[in-house]
Amino acid sequence: MYQYNPIDQTIVDERVAQFRDQTARFLAGQLSEDEFRPLRLQNGLYVQRQAPMLRVAVPYGEMSSKQMRMFAHIARKYDKGYGHFTTRQNIQYNWPALETVPDILADLASVQMHAIQTSGNCVRNVTSDHFAGIAVDEITDPRPMAELIRQWSTLQPEFAGLPRKFKIAVNAAKEDRTALQLHDLAVEALSESTWRIWVGGGMGRTPILAKQFKDVSRAEVLGWIESILRVYNLYGRRDNIYKARIKILVDAMGIEKFRSEVEADFAAMYRQELAVTDTSWNAVKAHWTNTPKKTAADSGVAIRQLRADNRAFDRWVERNVFTHKVPGYAAVTISLKAPGRAPGDATADEMDLIAQWADTYSGGELRVSHEQNLILADVPAAQLFALWKELTAAGMAKPTVGLLTNLIACPGGDFCALANARSLPLAEAILQRFDDIDYVHDLGDLDLNISGCINSCGHHHVGHIGILGVDKNGEEWYQILLGGAQGSQASLAKVIGPSFAVEQVPGAIARMLDVYVAQRNEGERFLETYRRVGLPAFKAAAYELSEAK
């Protein structure tokens, strides 16, 4: 993985010193709350319902076991002993005290980590494919491009006060595992030398799929991103927070006009210093050297026998093990979804355990997935069974990747000051109701996403089933949406009708699943049946009996 050079380290250390000074001035009354707000936000610090919330960057989701141990240390020393992995591949702490945040940032800097630009109106932490470097369908490794964007965007002086937040994703595989069309800007590899830029996607109050902007050479990617941001910075709306994202600007101008504005800027402003030369590209690429190159000893026969003998292991391999492009290796998803666990949460002890597994089984590195799970990317197939036994003992082997109970949920009203409704009790109710593993496996691929408010951190717009918390006269209600999808066939979900009380939601979902089971053709997934059968049949089932309940 990427290792800091002295420049990276100096910048991060100096950022800690800068924020320490700013925090001290705020606590001494020299900075008002209004003046301090953008400074703390761009260091990852929100003021939330219970306490400040600190969001720490995991650049494109990749980290070392040493960094995971630091997360555990921070959870113990400064928080309440746990952390929450997010849909943007970051980690959030819900209970730090404001005055300790500079110390937390200093601890993070000691392991090449930071919280820079994880919130605020700036370019946020760049996200990418959690199977980068190992996926069979990979065109090229997305991480060097993601790292170059990280460097270019970090403390970029021109774009520290954008109209609104700006999220960038990088995908470089045939299948899109980054939800790229739901980003303000996405960069997609067509080959190692040609990249497609997408612009103007996003969720939130007005979900819009990104539009194709232009196919450009690798050398010019940063130059085009800079010109896009300049046009957005100057012309994006600043009068209304709900209309300030780039998607609104692109929609208002039209993609053609937007493109020609950016082209005019690029023609006048592009400079050679921004070019990603072969030299700099190869220098960045050289950081990813420890992906296994050689085929591991063939263990196919042994694995097949173990799967035949052990139903639970077989299911786990089927669902939570992802094919590695190097034969003899596999990527393993550590599930952070189970009844009794808030989706994406891990305790400090679990983080230490996971770090240990990374060291033992996967070259000391791991990933955060945007489905709020963790991934060991380079596990020798011969060790899968041993790892599975350890995961099972620790409660992190639910074989549910891609299934209903791999549900995604934001922290919701229990923690977040923005939320209209709580997400976690509903997630728990659904996890408990659908705890029958045979039934959930029979349902097959199904994405369920819960957001506690319109900001859509739980990505409800792209769930096959989406749930959105709404506020009705101070009470929590939940809208149900159907038909969203991420990936290469992205689509936005539609609201089926009036919202439900929390206790009605699991039943409504169960009845809609009955419709699917009754109507599905051989091999047809929920989303496909929904697209074929249409919304009315599902809607009728959802509202049936809901009054009797």
């Binding site: 800068q18 403390l155 002086p157 021109e158 774009f159 940063l222 700099s280």
Partner: protein
Amino acid sequence: MSTINYLGANVESPWQFFHEEAMPQAWRNSGYPLVYWRDAVEVLPHLPKLASRAGVWLKTEDDVHEFAKAVGDVNRLVLIAVNVPKFSDGRIASIGTLLRRRYGYTGELRAVGDVMADQLVQWSRAGFDTFTLREDRSDETAMANARKALTAFTKQYQPNLVHHNEAVSFA
């Protein structure tokens, strides 16, 4: 009000700031008028002849391209100031960048308005030379903070615009 430069040094400023449409044409009799560009738009190309030392200011909501076109050769101006209504208004940084790089402005570029210590480092890197700090953020402590803020970083990822200590190339 106090003005400092990008190195944190105090700058004596003889400039007299004329509010938008405050006193039409009043600036003509001033030695160092700093006038809103639209108030002088018909004479902008000849401004140096009308007042030996004349500067203009623009708002962050103004179209910088329109401004540059109206001026013609921006280097006829000895001072361009950008008035930022709110410190979080990041348009000022793109305006500075465009004036420096697209229009080749080499004269003094000044930030005025809601200007405080913690934005100086990025605005300096976006091409600004001088900063007139907000009235209530100009006391001894605030000035010391501003000077300190300007030196917060010794390294950077992005290429330089002007007057910076060290360029850093990627990777």
